[in-house]
């Protein structure tokens, strides 16, 4: 034969090859989303709550609410 033989094309495992990329991307994206959520939403929220409750006085809070007159029992 004078014509050079073509290389045999990839016949099997095409879907698996395509899906491998997608599986890696899915893992990376979901881990990324979880990390971003943790550091952008969850941690700041925990800090805000910690700060709020550090100086929180429940009795004083109750007195203020009672003075404002929102309770139906025991009016000042």
């Amino acid at each position: 034969m004078s014509v050079p033989v073509l290389a045999k094309p990839q016949l099997r495992g095409l879907l698996a090859k395509r899906l491998r990329i997608h599986i890696i991307a899915a893992f990376a994206l979901s881990l990324g989303c979880a990390t971003i959520y943790k550091f952008a939403v969850a941690e700041p929220r925990k800090k805000v709550y910690q700060n709020f409750y550090r100086r929180y006085d429940a009795v004083k809070d109750f007195e203020e609410m009672s003075q404002a007159g929102i309770f139906q029992y025991g009016k000042p």
């Binding site: 709550y49 709020f52 203020e64």
Partner: protein, 169 residues
């Protein structure tokens, strides 16, 4: 014994039915939609039948000429032979159109018309808003929410400055 009897009856009926069908074939016309049809589809490139069913005399002559070496056919004859077999070329079949503009335009028009209906409803059909929507009621409501310290950590009351009695900047 009984089983063979039953089988005999079934077999006889099956044979008589097929005999009926065979004799009926010349009487009932087969409708076009029950026969293989022609389609112009990108995902079905070689349809079940040719586009032209009954050839005219010139087309018949062309088909005879097709039996000779094809180098004798001119370009127009080749295109004619193509169109005997196929209706539209792939290029023509796959052509996009401007129909989407009409669709979007009509959809927007009808949405706009629904907007007019909504306005008419508000004006002629609905009664007045409840008093709880008035300016003064809403301000009384807001003050009560702040007194109750609704969502004091991150939400509503967290945005109110209780010392200066104003919204936090």
């Amino acid at each position: 014994m009984l089983a063979t009897r039953v089988f005999g009856l079934v077999g006889r009926r099956a044979i008589s039915t097929s005999a009926c069908v065979r004799s009926h074939a010349g009487v009932v016309k087969t409708e076009d939609y029950s026969l293989p049809g022609y389609v112009d589809r990108r995902d079905y490139p070689l349809p079940d039948v040719a586009h032209v069913r009954t050839l005219s005399s010139s087309q018949k002559a062309l088909k005879e000429k097709e039996k000779q070496p094809w180098s004798k056919l001119s370009s127009e004859e080749k295109v004619q032979l193509y169109h005997i077999k196929f209706n539209e070329t792939f290029a023509k079949m796959n052509q996009s159109s401007n129909e989407w503009k009409t669709v979007i335009g009509a959809a927007m028009f009808f949405i706009g018309f629904s907007g007019l209906i909504v306005i008419w409803n508000k004006h002629y059909v609905y009664g007045p808003l409840p008093q709880t929507f008035s300016e003064e009621w809403v301000s009384m409501q807001t003050q009560r929410m702040l007194d109750m310290k609704v969502n004091p950590v991150q939400g509503f009351s967290a945005k109110w400055d209780y010392d200066k009695k104003e919204w936090k900047k």
